[in-house]
């Protein structure tokens, strides 16, 4: 089995999960609390990667991160490195593809939160931010943990966007699912089978965990 690919995959999944947690929590909380009528537009954009083929997302990310695009050239000017076909490049693609897998469970968790509790905290003088930390987060953590698990698991299995943006460079952008593709191309079915089994067992484990967390309820 390709240990470099495992290491890289875990690295990508961890970075994606951490960054999406930081972005997704405030976004989901805002979506759950805002009385703004146009919020369905934001929800639609967040859900877009669910229905869009990862290759389409990958294509646009590739275009955006290329050395001749504004983003790509700015990144190159700032860091002296190329964004396309690099680890930061596949991270950007992975973040976009996984946004719904993070935000939607978070949103479900915040929406099932009793709104009166949030309002009670406001009336007791607590700001929106402190209410989030003291009331919303502790009461929604099972759903939030479920969302993080799902994001992590989905990133581990991500294929299309990584291939499009990162190519398949060992040690740089070659993740486990890409390694399977390579093995099959090279007719090494034994290696592909081992990696596939590993990913299958991992996925079942993670989904069971996410499911279990989703069922968990705080005492009412």
């Amino acid at each position: 089995m390709d240990l470099t690919a495992i290491g890289l995959t875990l690295q990508l999944a961890t970075a994606t999960t951490v960054i999406l947690a930081a972005v997704g929590l405030p976004l989901a909380y805002w979506l759950a609390m805002t009385p703004w009528r146009g919020k369905f537009l934001v929800e639609a954009v967040v859900a877009l990667p669910l229905v869009l083929p990862p290759t389409v997302v990958g294509f646009y990310v590739l275009m955006a991160t290329g050395p001749y695009s504004p983003v790509g050239s700015a990144y190159e000017a700032a860091t002296g490195q190329r964004l396309a076909f690099s680890f930061p490049g596949i991270l950007v693609g992975s973040l976009l593809c996984n946004l719904p897998f993070t935000v939607r469970p978070f949103l479900a968790a915040f929406q099932s939160l009793n709104r009166r509790l949030v309002e009670a905290a406001w009336c007791l003088g607590e700001s929106g931010w402190r209410t989030f930390w003291r009331v919303a987060l502790p009461l929604s953590w099972p759903g939030i943990l479920g969302g993080l698990v799902l994001t992590f698991a989905h990133t581990v299995g991500e294929f299309g966007v990584v291939l499009m943006v990162g190519g398949n460079i060992p040690g740089v952008t070659r993740t486990l699912s890409n390694a399977i593709y390579d093995d099959v191309e090279a007719l090494d079915y034994a290696s592909a089978g081992r990696t596939s089994l590993l990913l299958l067992v991992f996925a079942i484990g993670m989904l069971s965990l996410a499911q279990k967390l989703g069922q968990r309820r705080m005492p009412a």
Partner: protein, 365 residues
């Protein structure tokens, strides 16, 4: 501070009445104002707007010399900056926090020694010391109410808003806790605006009352006065005048007015009999109607008539009897009194209503 909360605003909803509030309550002394009306009248909405949880479409809210809301000038103060307390109907205790943590929730940013002493004081004052390490789902409904009250009052709010404070409790407990709640409020000397649809609750807890119906405040004033002298037929119905009969004045003399309602004649007391208009509604409460057997000896009871029993139904601890002569009215009797009467549907009975309890209301036509 001039010591008054003044709210004049409008809030519309896709379903339900347009709430058009016009309210003035004193906030510099201890005083319980009851916002009273049927469910769906917009009482809770009014409270939520005052707390800052709901924005009115137009209007102003002033608290003393502070402006909380002025839609014309784009002023809106969030709940955190109003420095008042709101207790929700279902108490909204934080399920993940212990009783002590719930009570101290709103004083987290005070210096630790003061926080501790205020917490101990509040736990003691609300008899919660023994429960401090329990969680909300481990205590009774009455205890939950005390926790919610303690959590709000520990911040020493300038005004306390109570949304149906007893409705989450069971019947017998509810009556028992009315007295207790009033004692806590008196002890803390905080001005209160309390929402309820229960007339006994209103009568036992309030000093003043504002009667709300279909989004509008119809009448306000000292509680006994409003309950005895409603200004209109809707208010009369809301404050529990069970019988409302349209009639015409046929005679006026010596502080007494005679009114005819579909052939039944009533004597009504009037402060100035000349002031009463010709067309009136006569209103009275079912508990003020006396019912006797038809064969009972005639005495000089005022407004005594004979009618037939149309319906007998149970009304809480009492029994309600509907009586029909040429008008229909209802009487409220104790179960014992009904047994003593030993009458059934279809029997004739003699009923009378003292002139002093009949409230005439001008009828616009």
């Amino acid at each position: 501070m001039t010591g008054q909360l003044e709210a004049t605003f409008r809030r519309r909803f896709p379903a339900g009445p347009v709430v058009e509030a016009d309210l003035r309550i004193p906030v510099d002394t201890f005083h319980v104002t009851v916002l009273f009306g049927p469910s769906g009248a917009g009482k809770s909405t009014l409270l939520r707007v005052l707390a800052g949880l709901e924005r009115p479409e137009s209007g102003t809210i002033r608290f003393g010399d502070e402006t909380w809301c002025d839609t014309g000038r784009g002023i809106w103060l969030p709940p955190q900056q109003r420095d008042i307390g709101l207790m929700f109907q279902e108490y909204a205790l934080f399920p993940h926090l212990s009783v002590a943590e719930n009570v101290a929730f709103g004083i987290a940013r005070l210096p630790a020694p003061e926080r501790q002493s205020r917490l101990e004081e509040a736990l003691k004052s609300f008899d919660l010391t023994d429960l401090r390490d329990r969680y909300p789902h481990q205590v009774s409904g009455g205890q939950q109410q005390r926790i919610a009250l303690a959590r709000t009052l520990i911040r020493r709010p300038r005004l306390l808003l109570l949304d149906e404070p007893l409705s989450a409790l069971d019947g017998p407990l509810r009556n028992e806790l009315q007295g207790e709640l009033r004692r806590y409020l008196v002890r803390h000397q905080v001005p209160v605006l309390l929402v309820t649809h229960d007339p006994t609750e209103a009568a036992n807890l309030g000093d003043d009352v504002a009667v709300m119906d279909q989004g509008t405040i119809r009448q306000r004033g000292p509680l006994p006065e409003v309950f005895q002298s409603p200004c209109g037929v809707e208010v009369a119905r809301i404050v529990g005048m069970d019988t409302i009969l349209p009639g015409t004045v046929v005679d006026r003399r010596d502080g007494r007015v005679t009114v005819d309602t579909a052939g039944v004649r009533w004597t009504v007391a009037a402060a100035d009999e000349r002031e009463m208009s010709r067309n009136v509604h006569l209103c009275f409460r079912a508990e003020d109607v006396r019912v006797r057997k038809e064969t009972a000896t005639r005495d000089d009871a005022e407004n005594a008539h004979v009618g037939r029993i149309e319906r007998i139904s149970s009304d809480g601890p009492m029994t309600r009897i509907e009586i029909r002569s040429s008008v229909t009215l209802s009487a409220l009797l104790t179960k014992g009194a009904v047994r003593e009467l030993s009458v059934a549907v279809g029997d004739n009975v003699r009923f009378d209503v003292p002139a002093a309890v009949i409230r005439p209301i001008d009828r616009m036509e």
